[in-house]
Structures are given as C-alpha cells and as structure tokens.
Amino acid sequence: MSLEERLGRIAGLRPAGMRPRRPPPCDPAAVLPEPVSVRTFPFEHRHGTLPLGAVLAADTRALAPLAQDLGVAEFAAREIVFLDTETTSLGGGAGCLVFLVGLGRFAADRFVVEQHLLVRPPEERAFLERIRAALADFRGVATFFGRSFDRPRLEDRFAFHRMDTRLPARPHADLHTLARRLWGAELPDCRLRTVEERILGFVRHDDLPGALCPEAYRAFLEGDDRWLAGVLEHNRNDILSLAVLAHAVCLEARDPATIRGRLAVARGLAAGGDPERALALLRAAADDERRQGGGAAGNWPAARALGDWLKRAGRRAEAQRHWQEMAARGAGGIYPHTELAKLHEHHTGDLARALEWTLVAARLDRGEEAAALAHRAARLRRKRGELPAGAAALPGAESPAPAPPAGGLASRLGLERRRGDDHDAIAHET
C-alpha cells in the first residue's frame, strides 16, 4: 500500500462532510481584493423600517436601567463602533481565525461600514493591528452576541500574537442580551435574523448563511473568490442591523411595551434610584399579565415582582392585599400563601393565620417545597404551644394538628374541595 493509500485509510484524515476539493488552477494573487473595503450609506437609507439617520437621535440614557449590570455606560451613537466578525470555524480554539471584521460608525453626514479582510493568514498580525488602531477611536462597542462570540474570538487572536488582549473600545453593549431582555418572551428565538424580521422589519434576500462563511473563506484562500462578495454583504447587513437595533432597543427601553421588558427595566430602576417609576411599570406589567392569565409561561412573574417590590418597600398593607388577591385568583402557585404566612408570623404576630396559610400552601404544593413548609408548620405549632419546644420539626413525629377553622380561609378560597386533611397532606408530602 502506498503512503497516500495508507493516509487515505485513516478515518481522522477524511474530510468531514464536504467533498475534498483541489484548488482550481488559478493564481490567487489575481483575485486578491483590497484588505479594507469601505461602503457608505446616506442617513436616508432605510434598513428595515428605520432610516439610519434616526439612530443618531437614540436616547442612550434609556438603556441605563436595562443594562446597568452589564457595565454599559451611556454614550452617543457617534461614539459607538458597531462590530461584527466572521471566523473560520464556529467552534473556537487556537485554529479558529477571525478573517473578516466589519466596523460601522456614524460620520458627519453618513453611515460608514469599513470591512477588514485577512487576505493571507500569515499576515494576521498586521491585520489585527489595523483593527486595534481602528477601534481606538471609539468609546464603546456594540455587537450582537459579542460577549460569547466576537469578543473572545478576537481576544484569542490577540493573545495568540502576544498582543494586549483587551478590546481598545470599551465598554461593550451586547445587543443580543438587551433584545432578549425586552422581547425574549415574545419572539420564538433571539437570533439576529428573527429580530430583524420581527422588530426591525428587515428581510434578507439571497443571504449567504453565516454557517457557510468558513467554507467560503476556505474557497477564497484556494483561489476561488466567487463567494467572497456574499460574505462581505452578509457582514455588512449585520452591521446595519446592529445600528438600527441599537435605536430600537433604546426606544423600547424608554417605554417598554412587553411584560418582560417592563420587568427588566423596572428591576434596573428599582435598584438604580427611581423606585416610583419602577412601581408604575410593575403595575402596568401586572395588569397586562392578569389580562393574559399569568404571562407567557403562566407563572405570574409580574405579580410576584410587584409583591416583592411592595414587601421590600415596607408597604405591608398593600402587599398583603396584593397577595390575598393573588391567592384568591389562584395566581403564582404557593408564592402568595408563603408570603402571607411569613407576614403573619413575623409582622402581624397572628400565628393562627400564619399556620392556616402554611397548611393551605402545603396542600397546594406539588412536593417541591414540602420540607420547608412542614418545617414552618412545625415551628408555628411550637410557637403556639401546640408542641413541646424540643419536638421534632418534621411532622412524622407530631401529634395531629387541629382541623382548620370551619368556614375559615380555606373554605372562602374554595380550596376545601381538595381532598385530605391538612395533617395528612403534610405528612404525605414529607
């Protein structure tokens, strides 16, 4: 067997998925494109429903409550560079090259997309230095999914060449995270393609799918540049989408329309010093949620968040009313019951009520909280003198509990139709 045949027999050396392709007989030098290509777009250019110039009016301050945990500071659109990369592999690692970096920015009277191409892999270092120089002019960088993709890939390449690994332009706004916080519940997924179509009103035609970009670049290296234009266009569209998406995100963050978006913004406002606006958003979200019967997943996130806000603000009477309403509506599982039990145990001192709510919760519980509820019930019984101080907290060793008062809370809530007496319910669950 010849060496070629023996090598051909090795499974690990067979091409994965694709046909082996010999380079076509042409001179790569003849098809070398420019290392940097620049395209400009007038402000009137519409990408989806928005003209690009509108982005300059974006109120980036509105982002603060939505993105404060991400370290995204406020900066004007002109100070931001919109960055998107294409790589030779989607898996990462030392063999994964960044071969195309698109940078979008606002000039005085137009939007500029500058695309840097790695024409030959041995020239990577110069290529990376050009990119670092270009990024140094900006205060912040915006990407889509860049926290997990573009940034670590670039950092790996910088590290490979023993350059400073940090991106010159910081901080970094990952619009994917922001979009997910605002629309995550409404969209089937949060891929850029979906966001473009559903939020930005932009539909791509004849787009080269991102997954084919590595293969297109490989072909280019072997002298076949037919696909390269498609890669450049794909990347350019990503950059334009980033710019208009930044605006859409700011608009939505200022006045969120979705339950999820309101909750996300309210969380930031509550922590960031505008609790009253947070409360207004939470109430609006909770109202919407009630109309929808519990939100997309039916687990009442807004009602819970509102309850938590009231509790933290020390507005106990309002909180109690809110939880009672939730319990009456059967909203939020055992959350309102547990909160009411805590309220009575620790604040009103009404231990009978506290025990009553705990037992109802135990009956509704599907087993997840059984141990905690049993523990609470036992503690309450001890406090009420129904159990000696040292008695086991677990109900298996307990004396039978008194039946709930006739016509008590349980019956008012219409819960007595559920079978089993309280004690059995708890004992069974533990």
Partner: protein, 777 residues
C-alpha cells in the same frame, strides 16, 4: 501478619500451594542534607512536616531539574518520588527568578486530585502563596479562568491537555510564558498505543511552549523498568538523565507465589484462582488488604465471593468493596475516602488502583492472576507495606498459560530485569492525527518536523489537498476548516464513544432510571449484550435491552447464581507485508498490516462457585473492524500433515498452538496479554496453508508484530517448553487453552508443530526444505 505467615509456613494444605517464597530484606535509607539551592522557606516547610533530610536520589533529581536537564526517576514504590519533582518546582516558584510555572500530568483524574491534596498541604506551610489547582472535566467554568491566569502549578491529565488546553493555548498565554517544568508521573503507563499518543501530545506541547518562548524541562517518575531512559526519550523526544537507585528505607516484605492444587491431574485442571483468593481472604480477615483481579467481570465475582464470606463469618459485608473503571467518579471518590479512613478491610480492584491513588497503608496485596507485566506486578505488590511494618504480597497463579509458565519459572519475577515498555511515537495513524491537531494549534512551516518516520511534509500535503483541512499559503500551512480536531482523536483507541448503563427499577412514581456505569464501545460487545449479567459492587444486573445507536443499555437488578461470558470470533485480512523471512524452509514468518473483524455471536452462562456451564444465548451486535499490525507464520501443508494437523479433523491443533504463543509472548514483549490476540486459519485465504496470526489488539498497532518477528526463536522455545512441561494429558488452560470437544489430540499436534518450527521435529518434512539445521538462531 507474622502469625499469618507462620500459619502459611506450617499448615500443610497451604505449604503445598506455595511454589515460591521470597523474602525481601529490609533496606536502610541513604540520606543527605538539603542542597543549599533549595529555597529556605521550602526547607522550613519540609522540616515542619518532619522531613529533615533527603534521600540520595531526591538530591540527585533536584540538581538535574534546576540545571534544566530534567530527569526520569525510576525508583521503587514509596520511595518519595513525589518530592523528586515537587522540590525543584516549588523552590523555583518561590524564587520567582525567572517567574516559574509547572504543568503536572497524571494518567487519571483521581491521581490529579490526590496530588493537589498533597501539594496544598505543603503549600499551606509556605509563607508565599503558591496557586496549585486541578484542571480537568470536573473543574467549574468559573474557576477555569482563574487557574489559567493565576495558576503556578496546573495539575491535569493527558486527555484534558489534548482536548482542552493545547487547542486553546491563547487563553493560557500567561501560563505558557513561564512554563519551565513539565512533570509526568506514572510514566510506565504510557506504553503501547497510549504511549504513542502521549509522545505526540508532548510534541504538540513542545511546539506551543516554544511559541511562547519556553523550552521546559521534563521531570518524569516511573515504576522500575528495564529501559527507563529509552522510554523517556521516546516520550519526550530528548535524552534525560536516569535516576534509578532508591535511597529510601523499606521494611521486610514477603512475596509468595501460590499455585492452586491440581484437582484433576490428567485434565490439568487446577483449582480456580478466584476460589483460591477466597480461601486466602478467609485467612486475611482483619488484615487490611487489596485484591487485584484481571478484569471487571472477575472483580465483581470476587467482590461477591468476599461479601458472602464476610456475611457468613458475621462481619459487615460493607467492609468489602469493589473499585474499577466504569464506576462513576463520585462512587470512586467515596471508596477512596473509606479506604483511607479504614472503613474498609478488603478492596477488590482492577488496575485502576495500581496507580498511585492514595489509599493509605495496607498490609497485604493479593494478585489474583499474573497482571501481565512485571511493572504491574511490582506496582500492585507495592500497594502493601508502605509503612514500616512487615507486609506480604501474594501472587495466585491462574490457569492461564502465562501464569503456569511462571509457576515453572518463579525466578522470572525476582531475577529478571524489569521489562521494557514499548511505545511507538511514529505510528502513522497516531502521528498523522496529532499532526492534524498540531496544525490547528499553530501553523506549520514547510520545513518544520514533527517526530520521525514518514515525512511531515507528505502528511501536511495530504491534510491540505485530500482532507481539505489545511490551506497552504507560501511556506506555511494554516488550519482552514470549521472543525475542532482534538475532539475526534481519542488517546486510548480509535473510538471515543461510551455506552451508559442505566438501571431501571419501579419506584413510587413508576419506572425510575439511574446511571449505573459506563462501558467503552469495544467493551459493549463482551459485557452489555442483552441477556448479559453485569456485576456492579457485588450485585448482579441483567441487561434487558441495548439501544446501540443511542449508546444506552438498560439493566435490571437480578439475583442470578451465574455470570455470563461472551465468545468472540475474528476474521483477519492481510493488507500489507512489511517483512517476510523463510525460516530455514520450516515456515515463513511475516509482519505487516491486517484488518480484523470481530464478532460476538454467543455467550455462556457460568455458575458461581462451581463454574459449570448452565446455558447459553445469542448475541446480535455489529462487528467491530480494526486496522492494525500483526505477526504471522505460514507452515507448509506437508509439515502440518506430518505433525498430524489434519488427522484430528478441524485443525484444533493450530488454534492450540496460537493460544500457546499468545500465552507466553507477553513475557518477551513486555505487553499485556490482552494487547495481543491469536487467530489460526487452517487454510488461510492468501496462502492456502495453515497460518497463525498474533495481532495488536489496538487500532493502528504499537509494533508488537515487529517485536515478535525479531524475538520469535525465544517465544517459540518458551511455548514448546510450556506444552512439554504441562502435566495435563490432552490440554488445559495452562497450556493450549480450553479444550474443545473432540480436541483430544490438539495438545500433541500443537507440540509437534512447535517442535517442527524450532527445528526439532521428529521427521523433517521433505518438501520445501533446502537445509536442515539443528537450531534456528
């Protein structure tokens, strides 16, 4: 222990079983002061731990390491090997001139964790903080970054280095820039295909270190071997000073070789080694002991035997534990902790515990069957007697040919220089696959070499054109494919997929499943076919069904009084002849490439204790194909006829001879018997003549065929001697393997075939015999 040894000496029933009793005299240590170059803070920390002086070999290794030469320390078990490398590493980290980091490689995760526990204890006594961590599949992602950026000592295993660290070296830039030491412990395990992979992983490591401006020194530690220097050079690609003598003290130690008595002399049947181990366990009760069995199956059978024994004697059966590969990591950690804490009296293990996992001091080690290599035997025996008290090791010989050969020649164990470890760093399959990984990690220059053998350039060109993985640009080859090659290259075999065994049982919420264990794909054929009994911690599970595509086996607990044993059949095809030689016309020997196709068709049910065959079943699993290397010999039909091969019908004598060769060859090759498989074809397709094959049981082969080709006369002589000395009449597992029905003449035919091959045939066949010589050199 003394009383126990006395009983063995005097009790006639035991005395008859002892074929050899070796007393290893105590040894006194040879000590010296700390070399002045050891950082003072480290000296103080060691003194605080009660270490006032160093053994001579520790001083020697320290000096070789800080000189930058590196070393391989091949010293006995419990000789303070760990300090040989920890001393220079910690000293230089403390000195920080230049900044120093070290990479530690252990073959298993368990050993890595052990090492970090020990390091942490020592580091805790140092004034400056030294960061030592394990980095493996269990390391939480949140901690990984900290380890990469701040680690002074990173402790990992070859698999993690191969798939996790090397392909992501840019993330490890800070670490590689100060990587001055690479520590590899348990070097003797890097034999065969695993060794070939390891050598190539180290080639990749070397390239990356050079990329970051480092040329680290290699600090190696190994069990005692005949050729540590050669192994070190093949592994690391450079010559390393060998440090052999142990300056460490040792208490008196007894090593007994036991052969179970013949229960049926004409049939050559001896008592089973497992049964013998059970008898010995009765004697050893209350003595902390470890039992080594040769396979997972035998571990489970012995665990069951011992648990039954403990139960009958009114002792807690929980004080007997099994320990082997396939147990999930958490269970293994628990067993290790119980061993150290003394909550276990007897542990039954495969080779998994032969390595340096810290399990505390043991008084006795029982080797149930010869483990296949001298290094393993001494490593296992060394498990007993780490502290300064008399200890004992027992080797119970099994019915296997190799064991019985040792029964004839127990001196082999004590007088032979330790065997060589074979590894082939230039196995084409292995090297080409790692070249692929290396090209992913750093571009290749056209003139750059990567080991020896076939030109690096030829493989690179293949990767660029045929495989479409690399792109050539001027004088460099760049990775240019959407793939992560290290994931497709397994360091142990060609396969990386494992089967998961799920236990099904009915619970309060219906059918519940839990993960019981794991089995690799080739192992599936022999252990988890539907109907198989799978032993786990002494309990039996029956495989109810197998989802081959989904890599899952479903098992149910069962109370069976039998275990199962699969029978394999192998078909072999020659793909390449590297060399051939007509041995004086008596036969023609070859070595070269073959493709084997192995299929399991039936299994037998074998009753516990009596070992009787109580049933059988069919196995319906896909065949496993393997591209490997082999040695084979073609015997002229006339000679075979003269030896009586055709008279008996069926040609069982040829298989008998193949079994004999396979039985004794490992002694000469230094390999495990499981690494070598025999096939006999009475009329081989390519020769129309009787042919015996011995092939490498690992994909790609490790060169056993070639080694056998060179060492043939010795192996043939040993096989002939074994069959002549075996007391059985018509064959037994101790010589020709299990006797098949109607195979009453197989033993004699095998003997005559061998006699013919070595030139002592009664009648030299007239045909194709140009010359007759008394003895083939």
């Amino acid at each position: 222990m003394e009383r126990l040894l006395q009983q063995l000496r005097t009790d006639p029933a035991w005395r008859d079983r002892i074929v050899h009793w070796e007393v290893l005299a105590p040894e006194h240590g040879r000590y010296g002061d700390f070399p002045a170059a050891v950082h003072p803070a480290l000296q103080a920390a060691l003194r605080a731990r009660g270490i006032e002086r160093l053994y001579d070999h520790q001083t020697e290794t320290f000096e070789a390491a800080v000189r930058g030469a590196g070393f391989i320390a091949a010293t006995p078990t419990a000789s303070g090997k760990t300090l040989c490398y920890n001393l220079p590493v910690l000293s230089d980290i403390l000195r920080a001139d230049p900044p120093t980091a070290a990479l530690y490689l252990f073959p298993t995760k368990a050993l890595s964790q052990d090492q970090v526990a020990e390091l942490t204890d020592l580091i805790g006594r140092l004034p400056a903080s030294v960061v030592a961590y394990t980095y493996d599949g269990d390391t939480p992602p949140a901690v990984r970054r900290r380890i990469r950026d701040r680690g002074d000592i990173v402790v990992t295993n070859p698999y993690m280095l191969h798939t996790g660290i090397l392909p992501n070296h840019p993330k490890w830039g800070d670490f590689f820039r100060k990587l001055r030491y690479v520590v590899i412990d348990e070097v003797h395990v890097y034999r065969g295909i695993f060794g070939g992979h390891m050598a190539n992983v180290l080639r990749r490591l070397g390239r990356i270190a050079r990329h970051y401006g480092q040329e680290p020194a290699y600090l190696l530690a190994s069990a005692t071997l005949r050729n540590p220097g050669e192994l070190a050079e093949r592994l690391t690609g450079r010559p390393l000073p060998v440090v052999r003598h142990g300056g460490s003290p040792r208490a008196e130690k007894h090593f007994l070789v036991l052969n179970p008595p013949l229960v049926n002399a004409p049939a050559g049947v001896r008592g089973s080694a497992l049964e013998e181990a059970r008898r010995l366990a009765g004697l050893l009760m209350g003595v902390k002991s470890i039992f080594f069995a040769r396979s997972r199956n035998r571990v489970e059978v012995l665990v069951k035997y011992l648990k039954d024994l403990y139960h009958r004697r009114g002792k807690d059966p929980d004080r007997v534990r099994g320990y082997r590969g396939g147990y999930l990591p958490r269970l293994r950690r628990m067993i290790e902790a119980d061993l150290r804490a003394g909550r276990v009296d007897a542990v039954v293990s495969t080779t998994a515990l032969e390595l340096g996992v810290d399990i505390g001091s043991l008084d006795a080690a029982v080797l149930v069957g010869y483990p296949g290599s001298l290094a393993s035997a001494w490593q296992q025996a060394g498990r007993a007697g780490r502290r300064c008290a008399t200890s004992a090791a027992f080797l119970i010989l099994s019915n296997q040919t190799l064991d019985q050969y040792l029964g004839d020649h127990p001196d082999y164990l004590f007088r032979t220089p330790r065997e060589q470890a074979i590894l082939d760093a230039d196995n084409l399959v292995v090297r080409a696959n790692h070249l692929k990984c290396a090209a992913f990690e750093l571009p290749f220059g056209a003139e750059e070499a990567f080991g020896g053998g076939v030109e690096t350039r030829a493989i690179l060109d293949h990767l660029a054109t045929e495989s479409a993985l690399l792109s050539r640009s001027g004088d460099t080859y760049h990775w240019a494919a959407d793939a992560y090659p290290a994931e497709d290259v397994s360091l142990n075999s060609a396969d990386i997929d494992n089967f998961v065994i799920l236990e099904e049982r009915s619970g309060p919420r219906g059918l519940e499943t839990r993960v019981l264990a794991e089995v690799d794909r080739p192992g599936a054929m022999t252990s988890i076919y539907p109907g198989a009994i799978y032993g786990h911690q002494g309990e039996q599970f029956q495989i109810a069904r197998l989802d081959y595509a989904g890599r899952r086996a479903y098992a149910r607990k069962i109370d069976a009084d039998y275990y199962t044993d699969a029978e394999l059949s192998t078909d072999i095809r020659i793909t390449r002849i590297d060399r051939e030689a007509a041995r004086a016309g008596r036969y023609v020997a070859h070595h070269g490439g073959v493709i084997t196709r192995t299929q399991a068709a039936v299994y037998k049910k074998i009753k516990f204790y009596t070992s009787e065959n109580v049933g059988a079943g069919a196995i319906d699993l896909p065949a496993e194909e393997m591209d490997t290397t082999a040695w084979w010999a073609v015997i002229p039909t006339a000679a075979a006829a003269a030896a009586g091969l055709y008279e008996a019908g069926g040609g069982g004598g040829l298989q008998a001879m193949a079994n004999l060769l396979r039985g004794v060859a490992p002694l000469y090759l230094g390999c495990d018997p499981a690494d070598l498989r025999p096939v006999a074809e009475v009329s081989a397709r390519d020769y129309q003549a009787p042919t015996v094959f011995l092939y490498d049981a690992l994909p790609g082969g490790v060169g056993l065929g070639e080694a056998l080709f060179l060492g043939e006369p010795e192996v043939l002589e040993a096989a002939l001697e074994r069959v002549e000395r075996c007391p059985c009449r018509t064959g037994c597992p101790g010589c020709i393997g299990p006797v098949r029905a109607g195979g009453r003449r197989d033993k004699e035919v095998a003997r005559r075939l061998l006699a013919h091959m070595v030139g002592r045939g009664e009648r030299a066949p007239a045909a194709s015999c140009e010359e007759t010589r008394a003895h083939e050199p």
